[in-house]
């Protein structure tokens, strides 16, 4: 994975300077309007990154924080299906697309990037190469990584690699139990060895969602909040099951209260200074 990123290295120089210039601009009034970038990633596929990203986008909307999103599931797009209005499909390893993301970061918006499985460390490397992580460390940006943990663990390598980049940024561990009612197969020792090293990591637990409700939202391809409001993509009244909407509402409220508890809104509103 790294090789792909490194192949693009020459082009990245341009990106680097451009990112710098926008960083300089924003650092003038950084105490109030620091742009926020939230990376949602995982050590493996199928742990519900896109689902978490969707709850996050709904949450930001509810908090009236302007947001935009990038879907790295290139070229197909998984997030794009649910949020076509704000989510753009990009290839995060290509310099052109990196420019699209990082040169347009502005203070008015929170940028959420759904990082495809296996691309987390490549993305972090790219961010480090363009000087973004360093700038975030200095407080020019708010940079947060949402690390989604599935019920079991496949490979620790990528986590270990990712962790080495995360010294200066906000790290949020998300235990995703959306499809699992029972238990979390994490060995506490392994867990601690990788994650307790990161200072100030926050923890969020996403509770289980009724599987029929989950399935129904997938089929309708609308954001969770739109489903709850019983509307179609274009805002017309829909006829979703009241019970299923009730389940989704109940579940989403619990997820949001987790975000509240972990201070995600404050993160995205850039009111908190970087560690």
């Amino acid at each position: 994975m790294l090789t792909t990123a490194e192949k693009k290295a020459p082009e990245k120089t341009t990106t680097h300077t451009m990112a710098k210039s926008s960083a300089d601009k924003s650092s003038a009034d950084k105490s109030t309007t620091r742009p926020a970038v939230i990376l949602v990633g995982a050590d493996k596929g199928g742990v519900g990154k896109t689902t978490i990203t969707r709850t996050l986008l709904d949450y930001l909307a509810a908090k009236q924080i302007p947001r935009r999103a990038f879907d790295t599931e290139w070229p197909k797009g998984a997030l794009n299906r649910f949020h076509p209005d704000i989510a753009e499909v990009v290839d995060v390893t290509a310099a052109a697309d990196q420019m699209k993301i990082f040169d347009t970061i502005n203070a008015a918006k929170a940028t959420v990037i759904d990082v495809r499985a296996g691309l987390l460390s490549a993305t972090l490397t790219a961010l480090s190469n363009i000087g973004f992580i360093e700038a975030a460390g200095k407080g020019d940006y708010t940079f947060a990584v949402f690390h989604i943990l599935g019920p079991s663990i496949a490979s620790l390598d990528e986590i270990a690699e990712a962790a080495s980049y995360l010294a200066g940024c906000h790290h949020v561990l998300v235990k995703n139990l959306i499809n699992n009612s029972t238990f979390f197969e994490w060995d506490p020792a392994t867990y601690n060895s990788y994650f307790k090293k990161i200072k100030g990591a926050r923890e969020i637990t996403v509770p289980r969602l009724n599987e029929l409700a989950c399935e129904q939202v997938e089929l309708t391809s609308v954001p969770f909040s739109t489903f709850i409001a019983n509307q179609t993509v274009d805002g017309k009244p829909a006829a979703y099951s009241f019970v299923l909407r009730g389940y989704v509402r109940h579940w989403l409220n619990r997820v949001w209260s987790e975000y509240d508890r972990a201070g995600v809104a404050e993160l995205a509103q850039h009111k908190q200074h970087a560690a």
């Binding site: 599987e211 099951s241 009241f242 019970v243 299923l244 909407r245 009730g246 389940y247 109940h250």
Partner: protein, 248 residues
């Protein structure tokens, strides 16, 4: 007949409540065998006699007595799985003008209110002008008293009415036994012993009993008067708000 104006009501258009309002009655108890289904049957027959076609749901998976007695009006329901919950609650939340009656088995008492809370039934019902009225059949034991008080804590979500069924041993419902702002109980008489079998006969309807002079007539009449009384009281409560607003 004249007492209730039943014939007149059937001819005159519309239910008595404000236009568009529709009740969902939940008949429940914390213990089995306290006459829940009897209250549900009386209620459905009362609504029919009043010219309103009620839709009933039999939430008694082990027995289905309500569905047996009211094959045309009562639908067997279940809340064991998501599909069953969808079939029940998705139907209850539709304001189609016909009153709904749900007969909840004691075994499903807690589960029913849990699901109701989870899917946010009360809030959506309010938004759709649906009045949720919980008829709780009381008995004197601690379990029943506790269950009543648990429901009473959630009285902001629905109207809670205790039901004193005289058949039960020491049903509670005297003013001293209820919280200060609780609704007074609805009283159901003891059924005349000679007719206990009659009402179990297939096809028996309390509304029919009302039309024929018989010993059951009095029992049914008093039960129907109790229901009418309850409806008037609930309507008065609504009007009271209106009066209060206009006075200010």
């Amino acid at each position: 007949m004249a007492v209730f104006g039943i014939g007149a009501r059937a001819r005159a258009a519309g239910p008595p409540a404000a236009p568009g309002r529709q009740p969902v009655f939940v008949v429940c108890a914390a213990r089995p065998g306290v006459g829940c289904t009897l209250v549900a049957r009386l209620l459905v027959d009362y609504l029919s006699a009043d010219g309103r076609r009620a839709l009933a749901f039999d939430l008694n998976p082990d027995n289905r007595a309500l569905a047996r007695h009211l094959p045309l009006q009562a639908i067997p329901a279940d809340i064991g799985d998501t599909r069953g919950r969808m079939a029940l609650f998705d139907r209850l939340i539709v304001n189609d003008g016909s009153p709904k009656v749900v007969d909840v088995a004691a075994a499903l008492f807690d589960r029913f209110f849990e699901v109701m809370g989870q899917v946010g039934f009360a809030g959506e019902a309010r938004a759709r002008a649906i009045d949720v009225i919980v008829l709780f059949v009381t008995t004197g034991d601690q379990r029943s008293v506790d269950a009543y008080h648990r429901l009473f804590l959630r009285r902001g979500l629905f109207t809670l009415v205790p039901v004193k069924n005289a058949v039960n041993r020491s049903p509670f419902g005297r003013p001293a036994e209820l919280p200060a702002d609780a609704l007074p109980p609805l009283a159901i008489d003891r059924m005349p012993a000679a007719h206990a079998d009659t009402v179990e006969r297939p096809g028996f309807s309390f509304a029919d009993a009302l039309r024929r002079p018989a010993a059951l007539n009095d029992f049914t009449k008093r039960a129907f008067v109790a229901f009418r009384d309850l409806e008037l009281r609930l309507q008065m409560a609504e009007f009271a708000d209106l009066f209060r607003l206009s006075a200010e």
